[in-house]
Symmetry: C3
Subunit: 645 residues, 3 copies
């Protein structure tokens, strides 16, 4: 199903009926509204204006459109900030981050929580049972614009409170953080300050806890809104629109108060933001990398109940990346179908029409400012027709390969990279890509989630292995490959006394006796009976009695296997990983095919989709199949869909 | 005529007479003094000391030197800042920018305006009618050291006041800025704050207006000083010394209170500051780029009455660029004659003698600290002798080619580059250079200025097309070429409802339906019947019924022409532009010649000058000419001047 | 002798006896303790706890270990900072630099001085006469984490006081600083503020004096502690552990209150921090550059009495560089012996055991967290056995070559680089390396130190030549080569009236008439009868009647010699320098040999050491020698030691 983000408050009210009619006509079924309209809902303190929103909802509903209503907390009006300046977040420099854009609040502010309760209550009470309102989006893109960490007095107080609950006594805090080092001990929780602005590096344990506290308080903030909505709006779903490649809070935790996850898919902008090599950025500049969207579909599908939406889908050039090209012809259609292939229920485009004003005036919509369809808008109409033809899609099945994503891994490797280019996103991407280049489907799972039924489990980097994770690893019969730095930290960000991989040593009998981060230009040869290549970025010296799968030049082990568990103590690239994964997939009897770098496959029930991100046609190498869309030659930026004949 | 900047307060008074004598002897006629001497004019609050300045002026006058007196407002003394700390400008971080260099004031400060009125009044009253004083320089290098934008309380108040006059009501402001977006609406002008320090990007409309306000208040500040001087100093000229490649305020507006413009020409420093590719920086490291000075001569000549001065001419190595080489032998002479060729009345060197103290101790003068002539000083003496020989130069005539420079274009493309390397200066430079490589003279004109009489008008980028500009475009018979992003904004920095190029559509029937900024490494082929090449940086998708002059690979138009107007929706490089310009110049019957990249020509009346910026000789390819200076072989870093025989 | 840094407070007390026993067993003789233990010595204001430290000392002493006790001022506890927040240093942005790491004090704080006196007094009084305590380390790594310059109110007051003593009157200050420039004159010392936060560049003379003031106040602070210790702890040595490549205060001055210098040798981290080209960083990534440690040995040996220690020697990977590889096998041993070859009395490793907590949890020790020896620990045990075999080493003799290091040169070239890449450390390194590649020993000496007995003296850059320096240059019969910018400044950072090289003109009759800094990519050919090459970075135009040793392309001089003094006015690279040095060494009859870039020699009395920093073996090219360690084929990362047979 298709949806769209719409801002009736942006447009002349006379246009609304025609907009609604056109939406319906091109195949739109869902409309998200309201999430930035606080200044229109409540133009002055306590003076509400619902008339316009009532009318907008009626007009949309009259066309049969289903409405997702957003809570407007991502953009408090100026009068509120002037009344309560303490709601503003505070930067690392100790200065308030001012009004003028969005997300100008810290959830640590008591006043802000009170304002949130008030506005969510009135919106939910007014529209919660409206028949056209089918669901809710809480806030907008939590954490966007680097707003997870805030350093003001209320944040500090919240942190101290969080610590006192976690550690109970300052003695315990001192011990777990190792505060005896550099005389950092405190005599009371009141002495603790956020780990920022110090003469040099602060304690990584403090930073990890500060991040956890901030992540937790965002999750609580989301739950606070969800509870109010559930009270007033029974039988409607609650979701939030997450951002891709965004690790600054724990999505698994925050999602606990949601019914399902949505995410905002901007494939081209990420080409600039993700740390790709420059040549790759040029290569994929107007298509995006073929694993960027797919990875996030696989992530958000798995978090809650195998349901997910694209709440905002890029329909054309945007405004916020370093460069903002138009998507290649066909890519808006391709991205949409790719989302469906990975299980999306709804793909909702951002936005109906390009607003010629303000910060996003250069961000395309399905319509141009002159109310004509944009190139992306024309592709969407085509998608809608194809959906009609295809009918309901079969349910998504569990994949045979799982990859573990851990938000704390992301925090830990940024708090203590140890080598400047140890980038968790890059590592995760390389492992995911290596598997996907073998034509297999992949589920993204949380640490501790059941791994039953998988054939191969990939754990690129999981520094903290808690009891639940360990139990899940022990319980599965899948082959598990653990990457570098897995098991390298205790829950309080210390090196395990028994050395890394810590608790994992009960599965693989190995100790990491020394660690080297490797600067650009340095690589170490690795050889093995089944695969060979080089280590870059990171290389661990392993102490083990196990036979080595891969060895360094001096003959010492870089990778070892015990029963169904392998530990790989080096950063290796995608081609090298692919050799290794292929070997295990073959052993586990998983069907696979080596794909060109621009082709990806994805199954949904009996359907197989093939997506071509490249500029050259690709011929489907399978026989005896029945095409539902496309044919055996998949053109550039095109896709095909078939069932086995 | 030659001039020099002199600081009697820097030197032992016993040296003054000898300095004055030597100036006269080597051919200096004008001396600029006084613009940094406030602490000597008024050592303590209200205690003035004019004796030393009286004597200095008498000594200079006694040698027949004409004096340009500077108002000392660019460097207020410490006692003043201590008394009135609110005069200090405030940075983006909200902190006052402190005493210790220069330009430490914001013109928004009421106290500063009062101090300015006081000191200018007393200086002007004392010296305004002195027979040796022939003119005034107001302040020094307005905007230098990034002082146009200031963010303190008085700046904010000034901005609010400016807005209330422009928009009359907060409703109108909200509408024109599109403040409904992200709930940015205000209920009163009092709610407005400068667009800085926000969580993320602020409204570009707010930023453009803040820049306009700051530019306007600088222009008012200049006019305030000018009015005081005119009262006390009749029949003296008033000028200001602008900086090259400096776009942070509107020079056209500020110049309205001046009699003519001066500018400070530092050709070598700009090689490092201008965004040239590294290879070009190496190429021109000790000569400067052959279009850098010429462009500014053509700009400042045109602003007021076809008169301009070089107030500060680089005479040797300076101290403030990333690297500071000595000019190649001959370049000080070449730069001087090039200024005259472009119409300069006076070339005044900075400075008489290198001061061995303080910030500019490594900045050369015509003399070294040991009172011996510097290498540059020796070249100046040669120039003076050549001036004697040449006598009066003929008046400068209007060129056949004009290029439109717009300060708001510079602000808009920095506020919203949309692609990180969309640099207005680079674009302007490429268009100017392309024309100049064809041997033609170019006038730099303001938007809205009459274009009558030109054969070719170049508009590299003019986002806002107001009524005056449009009228000027309509009124000329010249062929006009509009570059990318022209007409892409309304006066309030919105996308025109009818799409770009907005009002220009009445001249060229085309709509920009989609825009791509192109990252480094991406280029798109463009082909046409008369020229071919690639687009980089920027490519617009054009919707038009006009035949295409240039097309993208998919056959869509990149450039179209209607009657005498062409719209080029892509960023193309200099060689490609030159092909296009040559075609139109030929059609218009303008004489041209393709020049090597290091040679430039310039006419002044019947005289033609050829300047050789390269290391190899160049043979003049014209016959039947009579050399006034030089001969048909123009040596490296040399020039020649001839009349048609 | 070997030592180790130990933190009993980090470990379970039950481990102490075993730790002490193991130390003794592997050959450790000295243990440094206590320098970060303030929060354990004084857990709350005025409540001291010495029991644990008493016991630790007894346990170490019982194994015959000699103790170096550190004063704990590098890490004040939180309660102290909460009581006296004014002790915190203040950054360039005017904000206090907070608690959370170390070095969070400014020595300008009166309260801090009072707290320092108190804690040092009690520690020194308690342990000063303990028989096992043989020496003291004051504080830890002065200046680390950029803590030399602080900008708070007490720093400003201290600066004003320092200035009033130096200049006596504001008039004198104005004159010496050239404050008339830009009206920077002050009427009283009270008007002076630290040179920071101004609109643009502040007066370099003010910055130099501010740096001197800060350096002096650190030296005074060290002397304050030393005086207290001497009172309570007779016959014990006092040292401080300096950092390599750290120029932010004057080590010569600070060392005046010490008995000898120690330094902290982290060869690998410096590969990333020193401005080496990237290819060199890759080349030396796990060995370090062969001149990095050697230079510092030669420096710290010379400062006080030809004695020095390595207080902290890197034993494995560290945590604080951009990348942190493990040292190549053998390098920990090589570095240790290299230190001894250069005269170190004691090499003390940092640290006994890797603490799995806090900021340095990834920093290796001789033991791993699991109490097993690390790879570095195993090499140290080998070194200890070799020391036994070798017995006492002969005394170090004066070298035949000296190189002058000047801390003010470092400050001046950073305050006023004039070309962005004029890096004093790079220049010094190139000159030292060029000499060392010729197989000769080098002493690093302070300006003004006697140069008697040397054959060749290298002065890469000495901007200020004071009377003592000049006298030392005049008194020596060595050939002296002065590099660019030598003599280019007066003591108050002005250009000498007689032009550079100022006072040096009495030795070499030459004037620097013009200076060019040269951007990357620009090089100027230099030719001479004995050596040829190119100038990069910097080229001076020389005015002289002396014959030229090297000339630019235009025939002007780049290097001249008068009697035993040469002035070289250009930056030239190591290979070029080596040709020149070789020529003078040959003339002076100094034995030399051209070494590969990875081999270095060092004599200690009759012993010659050869160190191989490269991956290929090297065959000793001398005959008739008797190997003490190793043999004629020196393996990769190995060394040999011989006496002439």
């Amino acid at each position: 199903m298709l949806g769209v983000c719409y801002y009736p408050e942006h447009w002349n009210e006379e246009w609304w009926p025609e907009d609604a009619r056109q939406m319906r006509e091109i195949g739109i079924r869902y409309v998200r509204i309201g999430e930035f309209a606080w200044s229109r809902m409540e133009p002055e303190q306590g003076r509400y204006d619902w008339d316009w929103l009532d009318r907008a909802i009626e007009i949309l509903a009259a066309e049969g459109l289903k409405i997702v209503l957003g809570t407007p907390t991502a953009a408090a009006p100026k009068w509120l900030v002037d009344l309560y300046p303490d709601v503003l977040p505070v930067g690392e420099d100790g200065k308030a981050r001012l009004f003028g854009s969005r997300r100008h609040y810290t959830p640590a502010s008591e006043q802000w929580l009170s304002e949130t309760r008030r506005i969510v209550e009135v919106v939910a009470a007014r529209y919660g049972r409206h028949p056209a309102v089918v669901g809710w989006q809480i806030d907008n893109e939590f954490g966007g614009d680097d707003t997870v960490l805030s350093y003001g007095p209320e944040d500090a107080a919240g942190f101290r409170n969080w610590l006192s609950q976690r550690y109970q006594s300052p003695q315990r805090l001192n011990e777990d953080w190792g505060n005896v080092f550099w005389s950092m001990e405190v005599n009371s929780f009141d002495e603790v300050i956020p780990p920022v602005g110090a003469v040099s590096e602060t304690n990584p344990a403090a930073r990890l806890d500060f991040w956890r506290y901030a992540s937790d308080s965002l999750a609580e903030y989301c739950a606070l809104q969800a509870a109010i909505i559930r009270k007033h709006s029974p039988d409607r779903f609650i979701t939030h629109n997450f951002m891709g490649f965004f690790h600054n809070f724990d999505h698994f935790k925050l999602a606990e108060s949601l019914d399902f996850c949505s995410w905002d898919s901007y494939p081209l902008g990420k080409v600039e933001h993700f740390p790709l090599p420059e040549a790759e950025r040029v290569r994929w500049y107007n298509t995006s990398h073929p694993d960027f969207s797919a990875f996030h579909h696989d992530l958000y599908r798995g978090i809650r109940n195998d349901r997910f939406w694209i709440m905002e889908q890029q329909p054309g050039p945007v405004n916020w990346a370093h460069w903002n090209p138009a998507p290649a012809n066909g890519m808006v259609r391709l991205w949409t179908w790719e989302a469906f292939a990975h299980g999306a229920e709804v793909v909702s485009y951002f936005r109906w029409r390009q607003l010629p004003y303000a910060q996003e005036q250069m961000h395309a919509g399905l319509q141009r400012p002159d109310r004509q369809p944009s190139p992306g808008g024309l592709e969407v109409a085509q998608v809608a027709r194809e959906i009609e033809v295809m009918g309901d899609l079969p349910p998504v099945e569990r994949a045979e390969v799982a990859i573990v994503l851990d938000y704390e891994a992301s925090w830990i490797t940024r708090i203590q990279p140890q080598g400047d280019d140890f980038n968790y996103k890059l590592l995760l991407h390389a492992w995911y890509e290596a598997a996907r280049r073998l034509g297999v489907d992949v589920d993204v799972v949380a640490p501790g989630q059941s791994l039953a039924g998988y054939k191969l489990v990939l754990v690129p980097c999981l520094p903290i292995i808690d009891d639940r994770s360990l139990a899940a690893f022990k319980a599965t019969t899948a082959h598990i490959i653990f990457g570098p730095r897995t098991g390298s930290k205790t829950t309080s960000h210390a090196v395990p006394w028994e050395l890394p991989p810590g608790a994992l040593q009960s599965l693989v009998s190995v100790k990491v006796s020394e660690v080297s981060s490797l600067r650009p230009g340095v690589s170490l040869s690795l050889t093995g009976s089944k695969a060979s290549g080089v280590a870059t970025h990171w290389a661990e010296r392993l102490e083990t009695d196990l036979p080595a799968d891969l060895t360094y030049e001096d003959g010492s082990a870089a990778m070892v296997t015990q029963r169904n568990c392998s530990y790989l103590g080096a950063w290796i690239d995608g081609d090298f990983l692919r050799q290794i994964f292929a070997d295990y997939l073959k052993a586990e009897g998983v069907a696979m095919i080596e794909l060109p770098d621009h082709i990806r496959l994805r199954k949904r029930g009996a359907l197989t989709f093939a997506f071509n991100y490249g500029p050259m046609p690709w011929t489907v190498p399978f026989g005896g199949i029945l095409f539902q869309i496309g044919n055996e030659v998949v053109g550039p930026h095109d896709f095909a869909c078939w069932v086995d004949g």
